[in-house]
Amino acid sequence: MPRSALGTPVETLDKIRQVAIKRRPPETAEIRVCCGTGCQARGSLDVLEAIKGEVQNLDADGEKPRVKKTGCQGFCEMGTVVLKTPEDFFHCRVKPEDAPAIVHRGSEADESVRKLQFPDPATGEPVNRMQDIPFYRKQKRLVLSRNGSVDPEDILDCIATGGYHALASVLAHTPPEEVIATVEKSGLRGRGGGGFPTGRKWRTCRDAPGAKRYVICNADEGDPGAFMDRSILEGAPHAVLEGMAIGAYAIGARQGFIYVRNEYPLAVERVTLAIAQAGEFGLLGENILGTDFSFSVRVMRGGGAFVCGESTALMASLQGEVGEPRTKYIHTVKSGLWDCPTTLNNVETWANVPIIFEMGADKYASIGSEGSKGTKIFSVVGKCKNTGLVEVPMGITVREIVEDICGGVQNDKQLKAVQTGGPSGGCIPASLADLPVDFDSLTEAGSMMGSGGMIVMDEDTCMVDVAKYFTDFLRKESCGKCTPCREGTDIMYQILCRISKGQGKEEDLELLEEIGKTLKVASLCALGQTAANPVLSTIRYFREEYLQHIRNGVCPAGVCRELLSYSIDPELCKGCGKCVRACPSEAITGEKKKPHVIDAEKCVACGVCYDQCAFNAVQRTSPRKKR
């Protein structure tokens, strides 16, 4: 057992922990204010200050609650979110002026906080406790639990609640070989997209010849619609660092990198601070916890290129080159960063590592489904009622996530499809809503897990438009190195544009499928290989909608603007002028309090007037009326 002058790693950490606990006694009540990017955008920093001010004014003799800034608590729709312990009273949509009511809240039935309580969707009764809110009830928050309870800017708060304990006990008792065996046994698979078994990756890297090794945390979360990695880095940066340190110990690396998107300034700031604090307490750097294991981590900001989420492109970017992928006949675990064996995992995967060692591989493997172990975080966004971050055991159905946890579709519309896997994924139709969500089932259905974005689409979403949107995204983000991806995505986009303008031909669908298949087999990296998924999956499940566009010039969802006409019903129009002011092309005219008219020549069919009208006077028709 490695021993230093201070004692074993566990003893060393325990000394720090005792100091931390003394400073922040666990029995003290807490008021936890969510300060993730979402809640901050809604003014949570002002709420935090208001609550701090209110607490300061409390009587000096009574014990004051500790006011804490936490990472994202997940329920972004209801931001700013404030939790009060030990009762776990949950408050939503909190404004600074609500601070006194929350601080002085004594009982469950306190009338003054009623408007801050979440109303139960079934009964309309206000819900008191976090765990009784449907959004949280069905979740299993292993990774995200730290997010809501720990101050991400204070390492002592993290250590007081068990942070770095897994690292300390690994360093004290577990040889690297056994660490890898434990990860293998847990069944952990990469949370970034591909779902590759993490343990196997580590083993190959450890066994690869070479003097120097690296670990990388992929925080280049490029999938639009996914933000769990940002939230983890912002809310529990130490969990990621601890996971990376365990991984580095297992494979024999001394240096780690976190490659994080430049669009995530708060994540960059928090993880940089976390690295500095961990260094101060000897949890990173030379001779960690008095052992001979040394490991340091550096943060690198990305440059806003989607393809850099691909492992070889990311490593090229880290080396200061243009972020283009390379062929992978030699894997990066054998020859990666600067041609050294490199283990790359994404943020959520690293954050799962300490949990495996805390709860044990067997227990971890008991969560989830046959081939997919543990929990997965999804960002459920789009047209659903309660958007936010949801952590669930794998194998749960799409319906349970969308309906039970996230409250179903907004404005009581019909669920049409759920898009998973970002631009590389596909659309799962409502008819498959009972599909279990795990790596293999999603791939079978023509989509993929991806990093866990789940975009809810309702009847007002046009699937041709969705396919066009993703193809446009990929066309722009294709690095252009290989021809199938560069040209294929562009041609697919042009065909989809034609279809959305009503100029498509029925043969176009076959052509799209053919190009899609070519991309799958001939592209250099995963970006191109999966680029056709949005197109192929929407044709597979929504062929009828494509045909409506092609044959009749109709966009049933009312999205493809070249197929739409807008007019104003003179009976319903009150002449309020709201649409006149909103119209970007100045196509609407009319005197005040008299029915307005849309000039079809000037109208670009953007639909802004349709959204703005409070009297439903703007009519939308498809196919487009002849001018």
């Binding site: 955008a41 996914a226 806003g304 200061g320 974005g453 975009i455 689409m457 953007c606």
Partner: protein
């Protein structure tokens, strides 16, 4: 142009072997874009060809080779924002102000960038104005914001 600041930035990153991207990020933070003169200077200091610096600057979407306006409006065009109508914001900027993605208004008051995802999907559609996040932005609200510039 005083490029001594570029010298300073290069020096700060001297010990790093892979320093072009971070250097360009810091140069851009200072000038708010990447002026040609600064890029040439970086190449000289790092003793690498200008073409390599240009390739990196041109490849990554976060770098701008054109001067930016006084304010920077970034419109999130991620999936969640798209579904909730962020394309209408880009339409508005194009039709009312004649400013497309990556361009600056004729009076130099603001530049517009469409970004893939700002990671605040629950607040869609999201816009940042000079790095401040705004949630649920309607065309109406965007107009009001621009009027205040």
């Amino acid at each position: 142009m005083d490029v001594s600041i570029v010298d300073e930035i290069v020096l700060q990153h001297m010990e790093e072997s892979a320093r072009i991207v971070p250097i360009l990020q810091d140069v851009q933070r200072h000038y708010r874009y990447l002026p040609e003169e600064a890029l040439r200077h970086v190449a000289g200091r790092l003793r690498i060809p200008c073409s390599r610096v240009y390739a990196v600057a041109n490849f990554y979407g976060a770098f701008s080779l054109k001067p930016r306006g006084k304010h920077l409006i970034r419109v999130c065009t991620g999936t969640a924002c798209h579904l909730r109508g962020s394309f209408k914001l880009m339409d508005l900027l194009a039709s009312k102000f004649n400013v497309e993605d990556g361009e600056t208004s004729s009076d130099g008051a603001f530049s517009v960038e469409a970004v893939n995802c700002l990671g605040a999907c629950a607040l869609a559609p999201v816009v940042t104005v000079d790095d401040k996040y705004l949630d649920g932005v309607s065309p109406d609200r965007l107009l009001k914001i621009i009027k205040q510039f």
